[in-house]
Amino acid sequence: MRKGVKPAVDENSEVVKTFRIFQSELDAKHDKHERLVKLSRDVTIESKRTIFLLHRISGEEDKESLIKEAQGKIQDIQASRLQRIARELEGEDPFLFHRAVSPGLQEYIEAVLFLCYAAERRLMGLGEVRGQLEFRVPIEEGEDSKTKDSSKPEGEAAPDDAIEQGSLPKEPPSATLHRTLALYVSPLDYVLGVADFTGELMRMCINSVGVGDLETPFELVAFMRELYDSFQLLGNQPGREFVRKLSVMRQSVSKVENACYMLRVRGSEIPKHMLLDAISSLPDSAQTDFDT
């Protein structure tokens, strides 16, 4: 990172010697920070794309294939970026680089929760989220001591072979020695991820109104109220972020309540079976997912 031409300093000075040590320590930290910020940004982008994909579900027919695709994407994120983040953070205080990693992690949690809800209509717990972020990695030669060269990212092509996800063991452990590498997920990141996830539920509701699904909105409003209640019970946690997200959540719940209200009010005008007929004849609104 540093360049060849250097300004003149007296390298014999005690102070200079000391600061040279400080310099390398700070540089190492900043460099790692930069790498993590970049990885986190990538995780954010990929997670957003996964969410985007799940919003394309418009009925039972395309549901399965889209969920499968989303699962694939999530596994990709886990195996590549997140595992790399885990390596970078190995042996570090997990909170030292928290600010660098947190945005990506929260977005990932949002995506994985949304996937789980889309597939199984339930809230995925923190334990399960964490379980999916335990990687089995082969013990490299001379790695019994915890040394590792985290400054050079390993080749992009390889990781998929080398890694198995904790939660999805595809094959029995091979003869090579393995160890577990866990990416720490803080409860706060999880909870804030849940808050964002509520926003996606709101979009899912509006989308399902668009495709004439008259059940989902009412299911969603109940589930979201539950989340909101639980969240509210946590109280005004310190940190502006929490308060802000609680208020965004209130707005999301309110939007879904309004949507249900409109459905009920509109639906009241003609008998139900008529309504369904009428709805199926709407212009092709399958593309109308309002996700952003």
Partner: protein, 243 residues
């Protein structure tokens, strides 16, 4: 030097005072935090009314909420002990928010139970405090009024959700109640403060409920009894009756 130590002794006396003051604040904060926790629990209980099946369970929810709310009596008693006599307003900011919140919750319970306005006495009684400033620890009037405005907001949400739950007469009754509240507030000579600001928001709550009533009216869902003596030509009620 002698003088310096004189200064020091004066200041160390001041310090005693200031340290004590900070301790009092710390204790108040702890007490208030407990009250906020109670308020949150009451709120979570009452949230149930917005669920589809919720309104039917309102009496049960209210009973549970009342019980929870009762714990604030001892909490207020505790708080009152911390606050030095005659210094209510010195520390008022600490419990202003929770007082408003509890006033709101009490008002909501009373409304759900009896569809009427809670009185200040009732709220004060529930909290175990006085209504009169002269008695030291009391329920501040402006806090109580803020609670009523929060009630209006919550009821406008309830109007929406009760339609979703298929209760078409409730919005009309809510609309009447909020109108009355509005009339009451209009009598007040409000300063240009946070209460006035919140009151300015009341008109949005009213408008929202009016739009709900509008939505059910135009679709002929408004029960004949609800609108009372209006005698307007109702939209084709037959179709609703056919549901």
């Amino acid at each position: 030097m002698a003088e310096a130590s004189l200064t020091a002794s004066i200041f160390s006396e001041f310090n005693e005072y200031l340290t004590n003051d900070q301790d009092v604040r710390e204790e108040i904060r702890v007490a208030v935090r407990a009250m906020e926790q109670t308020a949150r629990e009451v709120m979570t209980t009452l949230e149930g009314i917005h669920q589809s099946a919720g309104l039917k369970e309102a009496p049960a929810l209210c009973q549970k909420a009342r019980k929870l709310l009762e714990t604030t009596r001892s909490q207020f008693a505790e708080l009152q002990k911390k606050v030095p006599a005659d210094q209510y307003y010195r520390f008022h900011d600490h419990w202003r928010f929770v007082s408003q919140r509890l006033s709101f919750l009490a008002a909501l319970i009373v409304y759900l139970e009896a569809e009427r306005l809670v009185t200040r006495e009732e709220v004060a009684h529930l909290m175990g405090v006085s209504v009169r400033k002269e008695d030291g620890f009391h329920l501040d009037l402006e806090d109580f009024l803020q609670g009523l405005l929060q009630l209006a907001s919550e009821l406008s949400r309830l109007a929406i959700n009760s339609v979703t739950a298929g209760e078409y007469d409730r919005p009309v009754r809510i609309s009447n109640f909020i109108q009355e509240l509005n009339t009451g507030f209009r009598l007040l000579n409000l300063k240009n403060d946070s209460l006035r600001k919140r009151f300015d928001g009341l008109k949005y709550d009213i408008k929202k409920v009016e739009e709900v009533v509008y939505d059910i009216s135009i679709r002929g869902l408004k029960p004949a009894s609800a609108g009372g003596g209006e005698g307007g030509d109702e939209p084709p009620t037959s179709s609703t009756g056919a549901e």
